[in-house]
C-alpha cells in the first residue's frame, strides 16, 4: 500500500499527457476529414442545382438557427420553445433599418441584428434562467408571444400582420447585388456567414467554456459543488445563442427582402426544435442533418400532401421520442459502434 500523499507537484514534462485518455482530450478538437463534407456539399450544390439556390439559402439559414438553438438546448440544457424571439429580433432589426431607409449595408446590419438579439437574450436570460422545467418553458414561450404581440401592436412601424415588404438591401461590399431572380448572391453570402458563425460555434464548443456547459447540462448540482458560477455561464451561453439566432433572422430578412410576424411565431420555434432533435442535439452536426432531412421532406411532401406530411411528421416524432432520442446522428453512432464491435469480434 503506497503512502504517497496527494497531490504532489505535477511533473513538468508531458509524460502524463501521453496517456491515451489525455491524448484523446488534447486532440478532441482536431478537424476530422468528414467535417469538410458539408462545405464541399454546399459548394457543389451551387453548381449542380442552380435552380434550387433559393431552397439552399433557406436551408442554410435554418441550419444556423438550429445551431444557435443547439448551443442553448443541446449543450447548456436550456429547454426553450421561444427561440424565435431572437430570430425575430434580428429579422425586424434588419427589416426596420432597411424599410425606413436608415441603414441598408448588409454585413453591418447583421451585426446590429446580432446585437439587438443579444440584448433581448441577456435581458430575458438574466430574468428567466432562475427558473427551470415547465416554468422556464412557459416563460420562454410567453416572452416570444409577447414580442410577437408587441410587433403586431406597433403596426405603424412594423407593418403588423402584413409585415415590411420589398426591403432595400445594399450590395455586399458594394459589388454583389441581391437580386430576387438570381439568388446567387444570397446563396454565397449566406454560405459565407454560416461558415464564419460555424467556426465560432465550433471553437466555443471545444473550449473549456463549452465543456463547462456540458457539465451544467449533465449534472447541475455537481457544477454548483465545484464552485462554477452556473447562472452566469447560462446567461452568457443564452446571450450568444440569441445573437446567432438573430443573425439567422437577419439573413432571412435580407435574402427574402421581407419581414413579417411569422419570424416570431410559435410555429417557427417549434419547427426548429423538432429539426434539432430529429438531427440529434448536442452533437454540433445534428443541426445540419436535421435541417437537411426535414426541409427536403417538407419540400417534396408538404406541398403535395400537406395532411399526410403532418401525419407522417407526427408519427416520426413519436417514434423518435420513444426509440431514437438522440436523433439521426445518435442512431448513426449506435450503428457505427455495433459495426466496430462486430469487426473487432470477427
Amino acid at each position: 500500500m503506497s503512502t504517497e500523499a496527494i497531490p504532489a507537484a505535477p511533473a513538468t514534462t508531458l509524460g502524463r499527457a501521453n496517456h491515451p485518455a489525455a491524448r484523446l482530450l488534447i486532440a478532441r478538437h482536431h478537424l476530422r476529414w468528414w467535417e469538410t463534407l458539408p462545405w464541399l456539399a454546399a459548394a457543389a450544390f451551387y453548381f449542380v442545382f442552380p435552380d434550387y439556390l433559393g431552397f439552399g439559402t433557406s436551408l442554410m439559414i435554418t441550419i444556423l438557427f438550429a445551431l444557435s438553438l443547439d448551443l442553448a438546448l443541446g449543450y447548456a440544457g436550456i429547454i426553450t420553445l421561444g427561440h424565435a424571439a431572437f430570430f425575430g429580433a434580428g429579422a425586424y432589426t434588419v427589416g426596420l433599418l432597411a424599410f425606413h431607409n436608415i441603414w441598408t449595408e448588409p454585413i453591418t446590419s447583421l451585426m446590429l441584428a446580432a446585437l439587438a438579439a443579444a440584448a433581448v437574450g441577456v435581458a430575458s436570460g438574466l430574468v428567466l434562467l432562475r427558473t427551470q422545467g415547465l416554468t422556464l418553458l412557459m416563460l420562454t414561450l410567453c416572452t416570444m408571444a409577447l414580442l410577437q404581440e408587441g410587433a403586431n401592436m406597433a403596426h405603424d412601424f412594423t407593418g403588423g400582420f402584413d409585415g415590411l415588404p420589398s426591403l432595400d438591401i445594399a450590395p455586399v461590399f458594394g459589388v454583389f447585388e441581391f437580386n430576387p431572380l438570381y439568388p446567387d448572391t444570397q446563396y454565397l453570402y449566406t454560405l459565407a456567414i454560416l461558415f464564419v458563425c460555424f467556426i465560432f460555434i465550433r471553437t466555443l464548443i471545444y473550449s473549456p467554456f463549452g465543456q463547462s456547459l456540458t457539465g451544467i447540462r449533465e449534472n447541475l448540482l455537481r457544477m454548483h459543488a465545484i464552485g462554477a458560477p452556473v447562472r452566469r455561464r447560462l446567461v452568457v451561453c443564452y446571450t450568444i445563442s440569441a445573437a446567432l439566432a438573430g443573425i439567422a433572422g437577419g439573413l432571412w430578412a435580407q435574402t427574402n427582402a421581407y419581414v413579417n410576424l411569422s419570424a416570431l411565431d410559435l410555429d417557427r420555434a417549434a419547427t426548429v426544435l423538432i429539426i434539432l432533435i430529429l438531427g440529434g442535439y448536442g452533437r454540433l452536426y445534428g443541426a445540419f442533418v436535421g435541417a437537411a432531412a426535414y426541409m427536403a421532406l417538407e419540400h417534396f411532401l408538404a406541398r403535395i400532401y400537406p395532411t399526410a406530411w403532418q401525419l407522417g411528421l407526427g408519427l416520426l416524432l413519436v417514434v423518435v421520442a420513444l426509440y431514437a432520442r438522440n436523433g439521426m446522428l445518435g442512431l448513426g453512432e449506435v450503428i457505427w459502434r455495433r459495426y466496430r464491435a462486430r469487426r473487432t469480434a470477427s
Binding site: 416572452t143 416524432l317 420513444l322
Partner: protein, 291 residues
C-alpha cells in the same frame, strides 16, 4: 344602472369563457402535478372529445347529455390506450422527450381529424333548452353562458370534494405531495395515474364540446389554444384544482375584456401578467414550492 349591467354582462361573458378554459385545463393540471409529465397533447384530447360530442349531435342526432357522455367516455378510453402504450414509457425521461412525444401526438390528431372529418369548422347546435336568454332578475343574459358558469362551479366543487373526502382523492393528494412516500405507503401510483389521466382527458373532452360554441372546433384547435391551457395550468399551480379554477377565470375574463377593448394586440397583457406571476411565484399561485 346601465353601466352596472354592462359590467355584469362583460363579467359573465368572461366567467363563461374562463369556465370552459377551466374544464379543459383541470385534467392537465392534475396530471402534471401528479406525474410531472409535460403533456402538450392535452388540447388534442379536448379537440378529439369535442369532435365526438359535436358529431354525435349533428350527424347521429344524439341528445346533448348523451353526446357529452359519449365524448367523455370515448376520450377517456382513448387516453388509457395511449397512456399504456406510449406515455408510460417516458415517465422517467426528460422534459424534452415528453415534449417531443406529445407534439407528435398533436400532429397525428390534427391530421387524422382532417382526413376523417375535413378541415372545416364544426358548428355546435345548442339544444333548445339552453338557447336564448335567461332572466337573472336585474338583467337578461345568454342561457348557455349561465349554464356554463354553473356547470363549472359544480365541477370544481365536485372535484374538490372528491379530493378531500374520498379515499382516491386522498391518494392523489398524497402522491402529488410526495410520490416516493406515497409509493412506500403502498399506493399503486401507476394505476392512480391511469385513472387520473383518463378522468382528466374526459374532462378535456367535455370542455372541448361545451366550448365549441365560441372557441370553435376545427383541426387547428389543439395548437391554437395550447398556450392558454398551459398558462392556466402554470399560473394556477400544478396539481391544484382551485388554482387552475381561479387562474382560468382570471385568464378568461381578462382575455374577454381585452378582445373587446383592445382587439389588436391586447393579449400582450396576458403574456406580461403570466411572466410577472411566474417570476414572482414560479410554482404558480396555488402550487407547491419544491424545497
Amino acid at each position: 344602472m346601465n353601466a352596472a349591467i354592462d359590467f355584469a354582462s362583460i363579467l359573465l361573458g368572461g366567467l363563461a369563457a374562463g369556465t370552459v378554459l377551466f374544464i379543459v385545463s383541470v385534467g392537465l393540471s392534475v396530471t402534471m402535478g401528479l406525474m410531472g409529465f409535460v403533456n402538450l397533447a392535452h388540447g388534442a384530447f379536448a379537440m378529439f372529445g369535442g369532435y365526438i360530442i359535436v358529431l354525435a349531435m349533428n350527424r347521429a342526432h344524439f341528445g346533448f347529455p348523451v353526446a357529452l357522455a359519449l365524448g367523455f367516455l370515448g376520450t377517456a378510453a382513448l387516453s388509457v390506450v395511449l397512456e399504456q402504450s406510449l406515455y408510460r414509457r417516458l415517465y422517467r425521461a426528460g422534459e424534452l422527450d415528453q415534449v417531443l412525444l406529445t407534439i407528435g401526438l398533436i400532429f397525428i390528431f390534427m391530421a387524422t381529424l382532417t382526413i376523417l372529418v375535413g378541415p372545416q369548422s364544426q358548428p355546435l347546435q345548442l339544444p333548445s333548452e339552453l338557447g336564448g336568454q335567461i332572466n337573472l332578475g336585474f338583467m337578461q343574459y345568454r342561457t348557455y353562458s349561465i349554464f356554463l358558469i354553473v356547470v363549472g362551479a359544480l365541477i370544481v366543487v365536485g372535484i374538490w370534494l372528491a379530493f378531500e373526502r374520498t379515499r382516491i382523492g386522498a391518494q392523489i393528494r398524497a402522491t402529488v405531495d410526495n410520490r416516493r412516500m406515497a409509493e412506500s405507503l403502498g399506493i399503486n401510483v401507476d394505476r392512480l395515474f391511469t385513472i387520473t389521466f383518463a378522468f382528466g382527458s374526459g374532462m378535456a373532452a367535455l370542455g372541448g364540446g361545451l366550448g365549441a360554441e365560441f372557441l370553435g372546433l376545427d383541426p387547428q384547435y389543439a395548437l391554437k389554444y395550447l398556450v392558454y391551457f398551459l398558462i392556466a395550468v402554470s399560473v394556477g399551480g400544478l396539481g391544484s384544482v382551485v388554482g387552475v379554477y381561479y387562474a382560468s377565470l382570471l385568464l378568461g375574463t381578462l382575455d374577454f375584456i381585452l378582445k373587446l377593448y383592445l382587439p389588436k394586440g391586447g393579449t400582450i397583457f396576458i403574456y406580461v401578467l403570466t411572466i410577472l406571476v411566474l417570476l414572482w411565484r414560479p410554482q404558480g399561485l396555488f402550487g407547491r414550492k419544491s424545497a
